[in-house]
Subunit: 323 residues, 2 copies
């Protein structure tokens, strides 16, 4: 019996590293995770990945010959030509890391990598909310806001790797200061931390009765974006005002992307997207208010489908190039 | 002697129709224009084009065998699959026009068409300010504001032909009402008509000494965007404030495009771009203020190079597909 060969996907994060074996159709055959050991300047990260994958290949009675190749998504700035990663501060890497060289040497398989938001976009494009569409944009709302753009079936990188930096679209000139150094970026409003900041500021101006305001004023419980959406779902007035403002900025930014690219779908993922329709419906409303008619009538705003698996699935899809 | 075959480009406009013969390297060998006769529901437009091209082929001692094919840029909504045009109100066409069928039948050459802003983008991409770059965005500031997006060397259309509708990016929520039905579109500020509207409104609030304000208050001379830039160049305070506001909105919109696509260049063309550095410098400043650092450092804002020839050159480039 001829077995089709497998793909290996790696989703490297600051806390855990997710890995998976997939077949060429994108079905996850096996997935697992290990803690990311960032001690000693992150020097254990790559050896631990190599060890873990080797063991899983062995345990499943296979050899590297049964695999086509490996793809990986990583935080930081990726140099795809050299196969290196720099500026990955949450991994404790102080210098540029020769990831491709190390993993290819350690496992004897061809390897490619890209940044985590781009890789998650590939996952949703291949097997998630964007499958069967040639033009999609993915927006991931987590600690920060990232994104990826797929046009004519290809991931765009731009001239300096900055394509998909939709978290830094200015939605409020002279707005909140962003970690990137400029003001009013989408990320300062629509990331998990941005939502809490908006809630804090709106609570100061709010005079009515609100559990969210009480919790913020008491200062005992840590406010999270999840709590803001939970309270909004339960009728809290301030929480609903916060959600409305967030969704206004998100819908506005997505309309700008829509008017530029008219993709079939703009897919919202990341932890904040767990808010579901509470996030999706007002965002879609503000998108539609600000989208050009032919775009409004054709570009769909959707929630992501793959959750935490988008990274390993998208990463594995990069290995298809080695067939 | 073997001659390489030629390309034919057509740039159809509401007042004139420009046509040209080019070689495969994109050199213009001959160009001419005819008036666009929009009488009788625009029924003379296509026959006149066929007649004019036939005559020019004959006059140059050639036959259709000496040409590879024809490309055309047109106003209105283009259906590329069917080769038809609809909603071209400034051509007086009331119904969907089977342009490809008619021109192929009339001239016996393969034919392709696209909307005028996309075609001008192809021209600047091929032989103008964007040549030798794979990712560019073209913004044309004229009576309206249009655009085109080229990524990985391919013009993007999006799922419903709405890619490149950058004139309808919202730059001012709840701003001026646009002809498209929504508010605060870039076109309502940065088109030739938008600039005059901004000047009129800012003149009402302005209290200092300004030739522009005098001219607006007198109402004798028709204010144009060209006059606004001329007065700004000559030190008029209000005119400079108007230009600064226009360029703020333009730079902001271009930063959103930059953060999404990180193209090598964003090229500004159209009649308004004749203002040159008076437009380019403040626009670049506001672009840089609102662009993500890696985008700010790599995406260049440039003026278009081909002027009125962008249309025929880009149109001719579409015929290269028939080689």
């Amino acid at each position: 019996m001829v077995m089709s060969k497998g793909l290996i996907g790696i989703d490297l994060g600051g806390t855990t590293t997710k890995m998976a074996f997939l077949n060429e159709d994108g079905e996850v055959l096996e997935k697992w995770r290990i803690l990311t050991d960032i001690s000693d300047n992150g020097s254990h990260i790559v050896p631990n990945i190599i060890k873990s994958i080797s063991k899983h290949i062995e345990d499943s009675g296979k050899t590297t010959d049964d695999f086509i190749g490996i793809g990986m998504g990583t935080p930081g700035a990726v140099n795809r030509e050299n196969g290196t990663v720099s500026e990955a501060f949450n991994l404790n890497w102080k210098t540029t890391q020769p990831i491709r060289k190390d993993i290819q040497a350690g496992l004897g398989l061809p390897f490619d990598l890209d940044n985590d938001a781009n890789v998650a976009s590939l996952g949703e494009y291949w097997k998630g909310a964007g499958s069967n569409e040639d033009d999609i944009v993915f927006a991931t709302l987590g600690t920060g806001v990232g994104g990826g753009v797929i046009a004519n079936g290809k991931l765009l990188h731009g001239v300096n790797g900055g394509a998909g930096e939709i978290g830094h679209i200015t939605v409020q000139p002279n707005g909140y200061l962003c970690t990137c150094g400029k003001r009013g970026c989408l990320e300062t409003y629509a990331s998990a931390t941005g939502i809490v900041r908006v809630a804090d500021d709106m609570a100061k101006e709010f005079n009515g009765t609100s559990r969210l305001k009480e919790l913020i004023d008491d200062g005992d419980e840590k406010i999270t974006s999840k709590l803001v959406f939970y309270l909004a779902d339960n009728g809290d007035i301030l929480a609903n005002q916060v959600v409305d403002r967030i969704c206004f900025y998100l819908g506005l930014a997505l309309s700008m992307i829509g008017n530029t690219l008219n993709p079939a779908s703009i897919i919202i993922g990341g932890g904040v997207s767990n808010a579901g329709n509470t996030l999706l419906q007002p965002t879609t409303k503000y998108f539609q208010q600000n989208a050009f008619p032919s775009v409004r009538d054709s570009t769909k705003i959707k929630l992501a489908k793959l959750g935490n698996d988008a990274g390993v699935i998208g990463a594995a899809s990069m290995a298809l190039q080695f067939r």
